[in-house]
């Protein structure tokens, strides 16, 4: 076990060193931040999709309250940072629109079908969950396909970008954000069953560590933690390798995106943290003496449903201007109205996805085994 763990530490250091040597100090630092995300999410079992389900099915609000805590801690430092360095740091600010709302709703539904959200899919795949690996392939494809039609969808109608800082200023905007998060936490606590309100110690620690890592991401990269952009870029690069010409597409011909497409993946900040996150989840899984059982096997039709749901999840995340990380976590913690609207729409979709799960996901295993959390 000691040799395995020593090897895992070497693997983490080698990965960061590779990024450092190949793409510079910022790349190496962002891989380390990503490794931290993976270690915290898998090692301390902090999730996003799971708590959105358990508050509905089990009246268990502990995970959801921990999410609000992590977002609030991040916001408490992100708002002043963004105000102090507006030319160096950008928030996850996006417009609220019809396609954005529909995309968030569909994302919420599909994340319950693939048993993981944006970060959850990377964590699940990295920690050896077979559903997660299938979902990752679909998510990459879907988030790329979403880029091809994004302009059409946003053309259906969208408001200008609205931020809490723009509405009320950085100081009041932060307090309103914290007050809304506290009110939501209280609402969840009221809804939760006795004994399922107060997060356990590990979730308090995870929330604090996630906030610290998200702030490190903001300070190093100049922009908040995200997932979907990197996966869409990987899909675009695979499509180009297959012969696709993306130069004529609106999204990939935009200056910033064209630059990313033509450059190494190691220059894309979201890809760097995604790489670290997947590797961090792998390390956390292998660190344990028992890596745990594989997820329940599914029927062939259910595996196809997982792949299709992941494809749709990636596509809808692109339309929604982010997933649970880029829109919900980073949007709210940096003052974007779209983060709040995303949360409401995605929660409605999640409720529907919970009801679709037993219909679309059928275990091939004996009845004694259950579909995993």
């Amino acid at each position: 076990m000691t040799r395995t763990r020593a090897g895992l530490v070497l693997f983490a250091l080698a990965l960061a060193a590779y990024a450092f040597v190949a793409a510079g100090a910022r790349a190496g630092l962002l891989v380390l931040v990503g490794l931290g995300f993976g270690l915290v999410l898998e090692g301390l079992r902090f999730g996003f999709a799971g708590p959105w389900r358990t508050i509905v099915t089990d009246r268990d609000g502990r995970g959801l309250i921990a999410q609000f805590l992590a977002i609030g801690l991040t916001a408490a430092a992100a708002f002043p940072l963004l105000a102090a360095a507006p030319d160096e740091l950008f928030g996850a600010h996006a417009p609220v629109g019809l396609a954005m709302i529909a995309g968030a709703f569909v994302f919420g539904a599909t994340m319950q079908l693939v048993m993981g959200c944006g970060s959850g899919t990377l964590v699940n795949a990295g920690s050896g969950n077979l559903v997660g690996l299938v979902a990752l392939a679909g998510f990459i494809g879907g988030s790329f396909l979403g880029t091809l039609h994004l302009n059409w969808w946003t053309g259906l109608g969208a408001l200008p970008v609205i931020t809490f800082q723009g509405l009320w200023g950085a100081h009041a905007g932060l307090w309103i954000t914290l007050a809304l998060l506290a009110a939501l936490g209280a609402l969840v606590a009221l809804r939760a069953a006795p004994g399922k309100r107060m997060p356990p110690r590990r979730l308090w620690i995870a929330a604090a560590l996630l906030a610290a890592l998200a702030l490190a991401n903001l300070v190093i990269a100049g922009q908040p933690w995200g997932i979907v952009y990197g996966l869409g870029l990987w899909g675009a690069k695979l499509a180009e390798t297959g012969g696709a010409d993306l130069a004529a597409t609106a999204f990939w011909s935009a200056p910033g995106n064209a630059e990313r497409l033509g450059a190494s993946i190691l220059t894309d900040v979201t890809s760097l943290t995604n790489i670290g996150l997947l590797a961090g989840a792998f390390i956390a899984m292998r660190w344990k003496a028992d890596p745990g059982a594989q997820t329940t096997n599914l029927t062939a039709a259910s595996w196809l449903a997982v792949l299709a749901a992941a494809l749709v999840m990636g596509y809808s995340a692109r339309l929604a201007f982010g997933c649970n990380v880029g829109a919900f976590f980073s949007g709210i913690s940096t003052g974007s109205l779209h983060g709040w609207v995303w949360m409401v729409a995605a929660f409605g979709g999640s409720w529907m996805g919970i009801r679709l799960r037993p219909i679309l996901l059928r275990p091939a295993a004996p009845a004694a085994e259950r579909v995993p959390a």
Binding site: E88, V219, R260, Q294, C323
Partner: protein, 61 residues
């Protein structure tokens, strides 16, 4: 009634497959994309650098 129950790969095996997928993407990219010019690489930390971020984020259009 449940379908037959084929063998499933263990978690470590699936995790290695995920890492292999990641390595394949990085390798394909390394073969196609130009090497990074380290002299033009951004400062290690954006805050205090005076340089605006690239803007490639999920919230961008």
């Amino acid at each position: 009634m449940s379908a037959p129950y084929p063998a499933r790969p263990s978690r470590p095996v699936v995790a290695f497959l995920a890492l292999a997928l990641l390595a394949a993407i990085l390798l394909l990219d390394a073969l196609r994309a130009p090497p990074v010019d380290l002299f033009a690489a951004p400062p290690p930390v954006a805050l205090g650098s005076g340089v605006a971020p690239g803007g490639a984020h999920c919230s961008g259009g």
